[in-house]
């Protein structure tokens, strides 16, 4: 019996060390590389994984950068200690996608105190001017662009159901805020249903199924991201009620683009994940070498409709 337990332990050890081995790519060439600490909020997040891809692609192209990627698992305190580690490691610059827009101020102050350039990527916060630079979009714009297209498709009138992401998330707050700004400008449009489905396809699907049972007239389902929008489409389709309902998402993920191609998802908004990632790392590298950098680097949101979807399909290839 003891032998078996021992065997298992050994197996675990081998497995963990094998997995750990995948981590470092090994940069054995002699020349000094720029060390850039990249603090990301959540490796599990799909959209952020495209952003990270943009960074690693840029890293390979540039050749003189060594990125150190860490995952805060959506824990602001953890992100703070990761940045502290970067500082004590003496990295040349830091690129950060903040876990939340409150604690990032302190983190930026820490980097400034240590005289290490810090580039905030993707999420804006109050006091962004303290950071070396910002690279990303303005979340509220995506909500505005999305709802403006929905308003156009509905002729400026109709009942809107809004599917919110995870409560308290910056993207949830700002995108919905953008949605509502547009709705206020259109007196014949009103929000009849609004609820959180946590950016999750299965939850979006369940919520839509329940909404359909409520008997309320719904002219458009406007979701904070594509995954929830796809869930809504699947529920509407199963109930045979997709015709006559406009469904809108945000992000322009590869899955979502297929739904746009087939006309089921009529609106999505492209937030250039890879573009934000590569630009973020580029700005951080420049700052690390002491070059002057632009303070606000906006990567624009773009509207995706069945008419222009091909351009975006090609981007992912």
């Amino acid at each position: 019996m003891k032998k078996k337990v021992l065997g298992f332990m050994v197996m675990m050890l081998v497995l963990t060390s094998a997995l750990a081995g995948c981590g470092d790519g090994g940069s054995a060439d002699g020349e000094e590389k720029l060390k850039i600490g990249v603090a990301l909020p959540d490796f599990d997040d799909k959209w952020l994984s495209y952003l990270q891809d943009g960074m690693t692609t840029y890293e390979e192209e540039a050749g003189n950068i060594e990125g150190i990627y860490v995952d805060a698992m959506n824990d602001a305190a953890k992100q703070m200690s990761q940045v502290e580690t970067f500082i004590s490691q003496g990295v040349d610059a830091i690129a950060i996608v903040p876990v939340d827009t409150e604690s990032v101020g302190t983190i930026v102050d820490m980097a400034n105190g240590a005289d290490i350039p810090i580039v905030v990527v993707n999420r804006v916060y109050e006091g962004i001017e303290d950071a070396t630079a910002y690279v990303g979009g303005n979340s509220i714009d995506s909500g505005i662009i999305q709802m403006e297209e929905v308003a156009k498709l509905l002729g400026g009138k109709g009942n809107i159901a809004i599917m919110n992401g995870t409560p308290g998330h910056e993207a949830e707050i700002k995108r919905t805020e953008g949605n509502k700004q547009v709705i206020e400008e259109n007196p014949d449009m009103q929000v009849v249903l609004e609820k959180n489905a946590d950016f999750d396809r299965a939850k979006g699907m369940t919520l839509m199924e329940n909404w359909l049972q409520s008997g309320d007239q719904i002219d458009a389902v406007v979701a904070n991201n594509d995954e929830m929008a796809i869930g809504a489409i699947m529920a509407l389709e199963a109930a045979g009620k997709l015709d006559g309902v406009v469904v809108a998402g945000i992000d322009g993920t590869p899955d979502a683009l297929e739904y746009v191609e087939s006309g089921k998802l009529q609106v999505s908004v492209f937030q250039d994940a890879a573009g934000q990632g590569s630009k973020g790392l580029e700005v951080a590298a420049k700052a690390a070498q002491g070059e002057e950098v632009e303070k606000m680097n906006f990567i624009d949101f773009e509207l995706i409709t069945p008419d222009n979807v091909q351009t975006y399909v090609e981007k992912w290839q």
Partner: protein, 330 residues
Amino acid sequence: MSNLSTVTNNTSDAGLHKESKAAVLFKKYGMLIILIALIALMTALEPNFINSNNIINIVRQMAVIGIVAIGVTFVIITSGIDLSSGSVIALTSVIVATFAQEGTYPLIVAVLAAVAVGAATGVFNGFLIAKGNIAPFIVTLGMMTAARGLALLFSGGRPIGGLSDSFQFLGQGMILGIPVPIIIFAIIGIVSYVLLNKTKFGKYVYAIGGNEQAAMIAGVNVTKVKILVYSYAGLLSGLAGMILTARIASGQPTAGTMYELDAIAAAVIGGTSLTGGIGTIGGTVIGALIIGVMNNGLDLMNVSSYWQQILKGVIITVAVYIDARKHKKK
């Protein structure tokens, strides 16, 4: 072996002796009464609640959590816990999606993959708990983290689409007007009921939860039964992951987040005692339906998600309170 039946019978007899008939009735049907009351309340507040479409809708939505909860019920009866179910769903989801690609393997391969992945994680849990003598909370917490990591590693953090129609049928299809997830849920419910109530294995499960030492002295192979219990729970998480994947037509490494807690909640609301030895399949199914009815009813009435969470918390706490009172009376 023959000592065992006396051990279990004694414990249940002792419980029944001192209680009044009303108390026995409530103990047996209390949560069913609450479920019916809840349905009546929802119908009064929102007439659309009580149509056959919506009832089918609720059961289908709860099938995934319900299946996980049945497995968790076995675990909790042995006075263990399984925190890994949600992550196992995710791991199964991405692996099954790979085997369910349009025009690759026959459907049975995907189904077997789901069963195999789920059961494998369960065997691993059970082995470490029963043979390694590590607390279930810790082992399954480790599995929860590791399985999620494996799911992300396997999929590169991305959803896997392109699933075959025959596979999607498992989550979206209907047989004789009944959604396939409900049929699978029902079969699993019946099989589990028989396992727990009509077999020696079931008797051992209760015996271990009631008093592990006594069970061991009575000749129960506690190690083996525990490994089987965790394996069965893992297997059911695997099947739940398969249904979820088929339903959303996508293998997702982030699927099933927090499902383990909903499943535990369903079991607890259904009268399963966290101290072990007590719990039924019927109770757990009712517990799952109570959560489902509440979620659905509040969605229909457009009550905010914030309130939904608060109410769920209150219901769980009240259920445990009732459970604690019941034991005090004994």
